[in-house]
Amino acid sequence: MTSNLEIIKLNDLRLAARLISQQLRQGIHSGIRVGVGSEFEQYRHYQPGDDLKRIDWKYFSRSGKYMIKESTTESNLNIRLMLDLSGSMNYIDNGVSRLDYAKNLIASLAYLGFLQGDALSYFTLFEGKIEQKVAPTPKSFQRILLFLEQAKAADSWPLQPISESFFQGKERELVIWVSDFLQKESEWENLIKSFNHPRKELMLIQILGEQELDFNLEGNFVFRDLESGQEVVQDARAMQTQFRERFQAYLDHLDQTFQAPNVQLIRVSMKEPLAGVVRQILNRKKLA
């Protein structure tokens, strides 16, 4: 099993996505899920209970048999992938940058969506603006990879209020927002409200470093804020417990804020293998 660091060091998102999805499907015989689709797969005999609409009447006229046309299921899910490009994404823990981790995660998810034929779109949050980089087109996977490779995180993140229209639309939609959610002042409540829609689901993937989750630095450090560039000199050991308490309180607060029917917050430590994270996301999503 390849580690996160190895995957990220590859510096090839396409390969990384494939490796991760392979890890994900290890030992799984992908049985064909048969259902309604556009591409023909096979015929089978009609069985009582089957929808009459699905009987191939042309075939019946030829052979007098009730047969049902089957095809592999196609999901028609719209997936919006959102990547936070604020400065705090540049945080590096154990040699792995949060941004790289997020890029590989998104690439893997996009690959899986691409395999399923889902409509993929890609957004970035840069300098407080949400910007659509890739529209849902058949070639969007390649374009997403291209933009992911170019993406660079910088600057602060005073998120401008997300416009009401952003999440509107009737289609089923899965929004996967990869960030660290380390913005204290953001009004997450407003975001949650706009997601009060039965056909939409918001998955917030919070990627946190090991030191952020379990602060155990020792010695004198100069902490430089990734977003503002401010510096604070502190003895790490002296403030260990305090930092842990405060940060845990913030995480608890986030958990409470994101308690809404269609919203899920998945907290991920950067030492978790990417495949495991992807599996967790797939398992937790409610939209088929």
Binding site: L182, M239, Y250
Partner: protein
Amino acid sequence: MEWIQPTLLWGLLGLTIPVLIHLWNGKKGKVIAWAAFPWLDPKESQSSRSIKLENWLLLLIRILLIATLVFLLAGLIWKGFGSSREYKVVHLIWPDEQVEAEFRFELEQATQKGQEVRWIGTGLPEYGTEQVSAVDFSQEELQDYLDELNTDLDSIYLYTSLQSSFFPKETYWLPQNPVIRVAENYLPNGSNPAVSLESGEFLELDQNGILVKTATNGNASKTISGQISYAFGIISEERKASIQRALSAISEVYSFRFNEGNLNTAELLFSDSLTSNFDGNKLVFLSENQGYKISKKVLALSHLVNLNWEETVEKGLLPELILEGILANLGMEKPDLKITKTQLEKKFLAIPSSKLSKTANLNEVLLVLLVILFAVERFLAYRANL
């Protein structure tokens, strides 16, 4: 500033310890790019400037702490310290009224200044209160008297005269080289003893110690009347003759008269060696002796190594030696000769300062300083949480 144990000043190398610790601690921490910044406590974290200032203060105090400790151990003697410590002067006066009288003005001035004025010697009355002549004073114990002086004196004035008999020994040790004031007009006590002779003349020693005959003398202490009897013990004939010749020479020059008498009653006894029948009243001259003076009453006429009998006779020293013994027996000794001031000064040597046991006068101050510094250091260290 002086040090009792200057070698301990190597301890000052210990000053590098807090500096090194400080440099080690102050080593600017690793810069960490930190995302979860708002959860750090900017209040608790001093700005780097203030943390530096406080650390410098702490460093300074720690350095001072170690320096104080080293100074305390090394024993700092700071002469300028303490107003109670004055310039200490002692005036030592030879216990003789003549000397005192000559320097009375200076001594009174010194007393007015509050300086110590005393006679040389222990158990002597304080200066100015009593006459000194009553007290017994032994020249043999001079060094003991001088040893009783305090060691922390700044200068010693010695009032004395140049008589050679005042300081019989070769050297005297003092905490300091004394400044010697010489009583120029000192006259030795009592005039020289004189011997009146039968002829009506007097024998006395003049200023230079030479025996002279004078016609008049007021204070002849002794009179030699009649003859001086002498006898021979066991002695060779040859020597006997030499002695008789010497005696006749003496009587010729100084009009002493000798006659050979009974061995028991004779005042002078000449013998080859010391015999058992030695009478305490006799003055015994030995022609052969082992080279030392046996007592005041037993004198040698030859010396085994330096001057043997033959030499004595050959050089004509025999009358001189005999007369010297007789005169000494009569109480006529050489007068008190004067020595020069330089000679007197050479007799006094300063005790090397390393032999003096010193006490550091700053110990209490340093101790208090140490405690204060330690308290401040602890306080700051606690505040800085170091």
